[in-house]
Subunit: 233 residues, 2 copies
């Protein structure tokens, strides 16, 4: 399966600007991208990073054997347009009504820093012409699309829109129940999830720790604290 | 398996007081309790509701065949103390080192309004002396405990504390990856999750709609709006 990982390279993660400079947000976004791409490749699938601006493979924190399964395409269009162009029969390609599993396309957001191979295998292996992993707040964090007429629309309550769009084209729909795929790292409180659930080898966790973030566990509720970063830039 | 569902009956859900009166919060809490209890019973397990104040079965919005699998116990102690008293070898009962599956105890929070039988079967069926379903922000939303020396402590970052406590007593640990079990309804933004993911038969969703809540989908982000409630009290 081809798995599209859209990546907004310019000024990413603006909802974290109360905590992080633009440079720091870029570092964090790239750490998350590398975590996501490596995990997808570990499930045996090909990754197409669709970046809004040019991106060098050499600048990705990934080993050579992982990069062999990765291509980078630049697409300045909106998220939805860029994804739709890469779906089965996207960009005006002829619809093949005999579409099979080889025509399936996965779409995994680049900020699912806690995605594991188990969670992604649950997504990729689920039945359904359209398989969707919801995010918090009505978002869509990951999809598998096997139906030639389905198109994405990430604006607003996209999870419900995608469910309705699947029904509208007669596609069978399956929702995947995953805390890890449901956790996209957008808001300050999402950093807590990385600090709690990130594995020792998680680049995103390492990045946050280098930037000085730690879990605050002494009070009744859990938060993050930030000390002087141990490395700046 | 006995499944303990702790229920704070007096002045519940105070973090929703910006949106709901005390009476409304009680209604919502009871709707969630009924959803959770019915779903657990549908998985074939016995439920022990451990309530901080007396609670009548007749006042639960549950059908007779469900209530047959439900008992209510009143316990004024703290959440952790009340749960620990009901674990294998709790309250000073002798530790049976030959403890088997019959001694397993489940603990499911009463505000997991989106729990489904699939999600709960994933929890109850997971291997591990201790099985834990994390909530957002480092919380613990559900547990299965098969080890006689494990004790809960819900204060603070309880998910990490429970992982460490399992390791400390030599128990094997399994984490369950579930968006639905990860969603406890505590904060205003959690209401969005019920409005997005609640099924047609979900009491919590029905309760919120009767209180006038609807999804706000017109803007870029998803929120809730509240009209005049269609029924007050």
């Amino acid at each position: 399966m081809r798995v599209v990982v859209p990546f907004a390279a310019a000024d990413p993660k603006t909802r974290l600007e109360s905590l992080l400079t633009s440079t720091e947000r870029s570092r964090l976004a790239r750490a998350m991208l590398a975590d996501v791409v490596e995990t997808v490749v570990e499930t045996g699938h090909e990754v197409v990073i669709v970046s809004t601006t040019p991106l060098e493979k050499a600048n990705l924190d990934l080993e050579g054997h992982v990069l062999e399964s990765v291509t980078i395409e630049v697409d300045e269009r909106s998220l939805s347009d860029a994804v739709n162009a890469r779906l089965p029969a996207g960009d005006g390609r002829e619809v093949d009504v005999r579409h099979g599993p080889n025509d399936a396309v996965g779409v995994v957001m680049a900020d699912l820093a806690l995605a594991t191979t188990d969670a992604l295998e649950g997504l990729f292996g689920a039945d359904g012409d359209v398989v969707v992993a919801p995010g918090r707040g009505g978002g869509t964090n990951a999809l598998v699309i096997r139906h030639p007429e389905f198109r994405v629309d990430y604006h607003g309550a996209s999870y419900l829109d995608h469910c309705e769009a699947a029904t509208a084209v007669g596609a069978t729909l399956e929702a995947v129940d995953s805390f890890r795929l449901g956790t996209d790292v957008d808001e300050p409180e999402d950093l807590v999830e990385v600090l709690v659930h990130g594995s020792a080898s998680n680049r995103t966790l390492t990045c946050l720790r280098r930037l000085g973030f730690e879990l605050e566990r002494s009070s009744g509720r859990v938060g993050v604290t930030r000390d002087e970063p141990s490395s700046v830039e």
